[in-house]
Amino acid sequence: MDDDAVFHALADVNRRLLLDRLRKRNGQALGALCEGLDMTRQAVAKHLAILEEANLVATKRRGREKLHFINVVPINAIAERWMAKFDKPRLRALSNLKRALEGDDDE
C-alpha cells in the first residue's frame, strides 16, 4: 500500500469520522455505519471504498453482510517511518536468518 493513498484517505473529515465510528465499535456493516450520519448511503459506501483501497479498513463477510474493521497497520507504519530506524544489528540478524533459510529456498 502506498503512503499517498493513506494520506489521501485521511484528508477528509467524513472518512476520519467513519474511522472514529469503527474505532468505537469495530466490525460494522454499511447500514449501521450510516445511522445518524448526514450522508447518503452511496456517499458512505464510496468513502469506505477509498478507506479500503488505502488499507485503512479491512472487510470480512459474515453471511450476507460485509463487516468493516478499522486497520491501523498503515498508520503505524507511517509513524514508525519517522519514529524508528532500522539499525545494523537487525539487518545482521536478518542476513543470518537468510543463510539459515536458504537451504530450501530456490528463489
Binding site: M1, L67, F69, N71, L94
Partner: protein
C-alpha cells in the same frame, strides 16, 4: 450488524515477499524475535499441538493449541493470556492468520476474536499487533533488498 457478544479486530498488511518466506517468518523462532519484541513461539507446528509464546527470559506470555495449520496459507491458534491474571480469566481467544498471494505482494490478515464484549485481551493484543506487523513487513521487505544485493 456486528455481533455485540464478541470482540474482534482484523488487521491487514501487504508484504512484498512470497507466501513461503512469510510463512517461515511467522513460524521460525529466530526470526520471530526480530519483529515480535524478543518473543517467540515454541511448538512443533502440528494440528492439535500446544504452543507457547515466550518472553526472552523464558516466561510464558500466551499459550494455547494449534487449531488449524495449512502452510503457507492459514494458521489458527487458540490463544490464552498467561501473564496477567485478569486477562487469563477471560479464557480462550482465537487468532487466525491468513496469507493470500497477490500482485507482487502477499496479503496477510490477522484476526483476533473472543466471544465476549469489551474483551481486555482483545484490547491488549489489538494494540500490539500493528507494531508487530509493521516490524514484520519492514524486516521482510528490507530483507528482499538485502537478498537482492547479494
Amino acid at each position: 450488524m456486528s455481533n455485540a457478544s464478541e470482540s474482534r479486530f482484523v488487521y491487514v498488511t501487504y508484504i512484498r515477499t512470497t507466501p513461503e518466506r512469510l510463512w517461515s517468518a511467522l513460524t521460525t523462532p529466530e526470526f520471530m524475535r526480530q519483529y515480535w519484541f524478543d518473543c517467540s513461539i515454541a511448538t512443533d507446528w502440528k494440528r492439535g499441538s500446544a504452543w507457547k509464546l515466550q518472553f526472552k527470559d523464558g516466561r510464558v506470555a500466551d499459550s494455547g493449541t494449534i487449531v488449524e495449520i495449512d502452510p503457507p496459507k492459514r494458521l489458527v491458534l487458540e490463544w490464552r493470556n498467561e501473564w496477567s491474571p485478569e486477562l487469563n480469566a477471560e479464557g480462550n481467544a482465537r487468532c487466525t492468520m491468513e496469507l493470500e498471494p497477490g500482485d507482487g505482494a502477499v496479503k496477510l490478515t490477522v484476526t483476533h476474536a473472543m466471544a465476549r464484549p469489551q474483551s481486555k485481551l482483545i484490547d491488549a493484543v489489538g494494540g500490539g499487533w500493528p507494531k508487530i506487523l509493521s516490524n514484520l513487513k519492514s524486516l521482510l521487505e528490507i530483507g528482499e533488498v538485502v537478498m537482492k544485493g547479494k
